[in-house]
Every structure is written in structure tokens, then in C-alpha cells.
Symmetry: C2
Subunit: 134 residues, 2 copies
């Protein structure tokens, strides 16, 4: 039930290198326990790593990802002032909403562009002769 993972398992599962995982630890994004000298990752660690990668896909710097994650998961020590936290949540949401709008725009422009391409392709392929109509 409380499964654990080795560093290479996680690396393989998420398609990253062990170096990257250790780097994230150095940057305080993960803090696995040890069994002797070896790192042991819990389910929670795995989840945190997943969140890190999601943040990365959205282009966030590791520092902000760490703040983000620590809010989601107070993991013991630092219980932020609630109001401060709500402030940050708001800022975070604004960023996300902006990204959402950006994506929406990009997608619709991309659709438009693709339609043009397909049309143009369609007007070329049916008959080679059509190409002569310049």
C-alpha cells in the first residue's frame, strides 16, 4: 500500500534523467528519505514530481513551482499566513487564466491556418492539371 520508488524507476516513468531528479532535490522540490545512502521515494514524492513536470510544461521557473507545490502540500513546517496564501493563489490564478486565453487564441488561429492548408492541398491533389491554372 505504501509503495516506494527508486530514482531510476521514477526517471524512466517520467522520461527524465536521474540527474534531473537529484537536481530537483537540490532545489528543494523533492526531499526523499534515505535507506542508508540511497534515496527512497514515496507516493507523495512521486506526486510532487508529477506536479513539477506539469509546471514545467507550462513554462514556470522551478522556484515558482516550488512555492506552488508547498502551498498545495504544507508538508509539516511552514504554514503560511492564510491571507498571504490567498493572495498568492489569486496571482497564480491570474497567470493561469492569462495562459488559458493565450492558448485559446493560439488554437483558433492554428485551426484557421490548418483549414487554409487543407483547402490548398485539396485544390492541388485531385488533378495535376489544376496546377497549370496559374
Amino acid at each position: 500500500m505504501d509503495r516506494t520508488y527508486t530514482i531510476t524507476e521514477l526517471a524512466r516513468e517520467f522520461g527524465i534523467t536521474t540527474r534531473t531528479i537529484r537536481f530537483y532535490e537540490d532545489r528543494q522540490l523533492l526531499q526523499p528519505t534515505r535507506e542508508g545512502t540511497k534515496r527512497v521515494y514515496s507516493r507523495g514524492d512521486r506526486t510532487r514530481l508529477k506536479l513539477v513536470l506539469r509546471g514545467k510544461r507550462l513554462g514556470w521557473p522551478l522556484d515558482e513551482i516550488r512555492e506552488m507545490i508547498n502551498m498545495y502540500d504544507p508538508h509539516g513546517g511552514e504554514v503560511l499566513q492564510l491571507t498571504t496564501m490567498i493572495e498568492k493563489l489569486k496571482a497564480n490564478r491570474d497567470t493561469l487564466l492569462q495562459q488559458q486565453r493565450d492558448i485559446q487564441q493560439s488554437l483558433s488561429e492554428l485551426d484557421q491556418l490548418e483549414r487554409n492548408c487543407l483547402d490548398q492541398l485539396a485544390s492541388m491533389t485531385p488533378s495535376p492539371l489544376a496546377a497549370a491554372n496559374s
Copy 2:
């Protein structure tokens, strides 16, 4: 009707430095004309810059942004093979859709978290005495 812009105008409008704009030119994202030695930016250049910044907000590297933009705006020379182009569009859309999912997840988790915070706040503020109930 065919308004033009100076480098500092654009910098101020978009909240970036002139250094950044020149850097984008160096990386082939912009190619303004010259009036003597000075750069002159057209409406199209301004639009391209806007697209660049949008890409940045989504965390894309400048190289991909350039490819993206060049697809949107063949601007003369390089007419890509249509099929190649459609391939790239597809890949691009996949990335965008992934980002969209990531954002959706993030937003909903964030909402959940905020609700918790607000609840907790609500249970504290009404009466200071309530805090004694540990």
C-alpha cells in the same frame, strides 16, 4: 494608416527593454526596416512581437516561436511543403492541448485549495474565542 514605431515605443508599450527587441531581431524573430541606421517597425512587426510575447507567456523557446510565426506569416521566401506544415501544426496543437489540460487541472486544484483557505478563515474571524477551541 501605415503607422510605424520606434524601438522605444514598442519597448514601452510591451514592457520590455530595447535590448530584448534587438535580441529578438538577432534571433530572426523580427526584421524591421531601416531609416538610415535606425530601426523602423511596421504594424506587422508589432504584431509579430505580440505573437512572440504570447509564446513566451506559454513558456516556449524562441526557436519554436520563430517557426510558429513563420508558419503564420510566410513573409515571402520560404513556402514550406504543405504536408510538412500540416505535420507541424498537428504537433503544435498537441502541445497546446496538453497545456490546456495542465491548466485546467491546476485551476481546479487551486480552486479547491482556495475554498479550504476561505473556510478556515471564516471559522476564525467571527470570534477570537473560537481560536481557543483546540
